[in-house]
């Protein structure tokens, strides 16, 4: 029975020894072999390795991949005392497993160390730069990239020498004002937009006024052109009419004057005109001389027919009662 127990114990021992006397190193890992706690070798290539069983040698697996650590959002001051919230990521890998283990032992320690390192480098890098140079419109973010680069270099140097860590990349993932400063940023943006809006509106009004003025000018020009044209037409009408009249009156000058004078009388002499006619006016010739019973004086009947065919103007001239020739009529 005792032999049986001894055999089982031996078997168990063999199994334990067999199971711990090798190590399979993944492509993603380093294996550090420690002998009584003291590192003796590093297995960085993937594969199957033999080692002494457990009490003598232990294998510690470390990540060979690139690791990423995020720093917390921190409020930092720039050279011109502006507060900014900054957060970063740093990706790194264990370059020297022995140094890494000696300095840090665990991943948690490593991350805390790195984060602290980044924060302090970032703080001093920002403290050296005025805020305006970190940003830079039109610079394609080159100044921010330069800041990242300088922090990464400083961190990489310490990490490499003291921690066995290689920094792969470091980047600023957040850059913003703290909330209390944001409010004034919003106010400034609002004011700026209001100014731009006002600018647009007044530009519109100015443009509209310009258009209106131009329209008025064009209108005036069109009307003036039309008036010129109209005047020309009227002038042509006058000229044509004059030519026609001239053509018609040609050779009848005397008669035209006579006719035109009559026309002028018709127009000139109106209700306001008082006409005094002498009773012996040739115009009244018939009126006064043809009525035999009229007691105005003796009239010789024989005279009247004699004057019949004559023009009234001439009739008056031969009247016996009248010593001289008088005008046809006298206007007042």
């Amino acid at each position: 029975m005792a032999r049986r127990i001894a055999a089982v114990l031996l078997l168990a021992l063999v199994v334990v020894v067999a199971a711990t006397s090798f190590v399979v190193v993944d492509e993603r890992s380093h294996a550090v072999i420690t002998q009584f706690g003291r590192p003796v070798s590093v297995l960085s290539d993937a594969g199957f390795y033999l080692k002494l069983p457990v009490p003598f040698q232990r294998a510690r697996l470390l990540d060979k991949r690139i690791l990423i650590t995020n720093t917390q959002e921190t409020e930092l001051l720039t050279a011109d005392k502006k507060n900014v919230l900054v957060s970063t990521y740093i990706s790194w890998k264990i370059a020297d497993p022995l140094r890494y283990l000696a300095a840090l032992r665990t991943r948690e320690f490593a991350e805390n160390r790195l984060a602290a390192l980044v924060q302090s480098e970032l703080g001093s890098a920002l403290g050296d730069r005025p805020f305006g140079t970190i940003l830079g419109a039109g610079g394609n973010g080159a100044s921010l990239a330069e800041l990242e680069g300088s922090v990464a270099d400083a961190v990489a140097k310490v990490a490499q020498e003291d921690l066995g860590i290689e920094v792969v990349s470091l980047g600023v993932t957040r850059l913003i004002f703290p909330q209390q400063n944001l409010d004034s940023v919003f106010a400034r943006m609002r004011a700026e937009r209001a100014r731009i809006a006002r600018g647009h509106r007044s530009e519109g009004r100015a443009e509209a006024q310009k258009i209106a003025a131009r329209a008025e000018r064009e209108r005036a020009r069109i009307i003036a052109d039309a008036e010129a044209e109209a005047a020309k037409l009227r002038g042509r009408g006058e000229a044509e009419a004059a030519r026609i009249y001239a053509g018609a009156y040609e050779g009848h000058g005397e008669f035209y004057r006579f006719l035109r004078t009559l026309e002028a009388y018709k127009k000139v002499l109106n209700e306001k005109t008082t006409l005094v006619l002498p009773a012996d006016s040739p115009f009244l010739d018939l009126l006064t001389s043809r009525i035999p019973s009229a007691g105005a004086g003796p009239r010789r009947d024989g005279q009247a027919p004699e004057r019949k065919g004559e023009a009234p103007a001439r009739a008056g001239a031969s009247h016996d009662a009248k010593p001289g020739e008088s005008g046809r009529d006298t206007g007042s």
Binding site: N140, R193, I222, V276
Partner: protein, 298 residues
Amino acid sequence: MSGRRRYWTLLSGAVLLAGYLGLGVYNVESDESAVAYVLGRAVGRDVLPGIHWNPPWPWGRVAVARTATNFIMPVEHSDPGGTEESLWLLGDTNVIVGRLGIQYSIRSLTRFEVSHEDPRELLRRAGRRIVTRFLAGENVDAALTTRRSDLLTAVQRQVQSILDGHGTGIEIQSVNIQALAPPEQGGVRQAFQEVQSALADRERVVEEARADRAQILAEAEGEAEHRVNQAEAARHRRVEIAKGEGERFRGLALEHRRTPKLTEERLYLEAIEEILPRMETYVVQSGPDGKVNLRVVR
């Protein structure tokens, strides 16, 4: 008896062995790929879909993941004040809300597995980094308008280059902007919309002025035409009247030539007949000298 026991022992041993080896069978779906490791080394890199076998633990290990799908990685922040807006700082110290999406796929699962502990986290961080960096070099007007597509190409190119620098095996398919706008907070977006409406007002005012101008010009043209037409009509009338009068005069003149005295007398009397009734007419006896004493009339 002992033979029978040996038979059972062998049989159960074989079943156990088969079961153990059967653990190494794995399946890769059509949108997946796999990496098989034997003794820690990746052997069949990026195994194709189908049923495969790889030595089971502890000799081998298999990683299967969906790779043919396009994944989306959002690029955004949470606000320091706790609101929902994802704020970014611009080069002109203005602030903008931005949310982007990076569409990516895993081009090489082996590299994805081996290179980086969390390639997706790296992608998220690299996305924020590049957007932060890009926007830190822009002013607000450019960022909201002309530079949007440049932002997309910058993110795609530069994030891809970071990922490649880490050997992650991730390939960015495309980047898209889900939101890029002025912040809602503090009434900023409203102020931006106010600028838009001011622009619209400006357009409208100018359009109205143009319409007014067109109307004024049309009316002026109309009036011009009217005036010219009136003048033309006046000219025509003048000429026609001249012709008519000329015609009438010619007729009279002909008659006058035939019987000058008679015609003149007739015309004279006709005129007098027309004129006298209008006028106040006094007939007085002329004095002996043939003159009229106008006192009488008074």
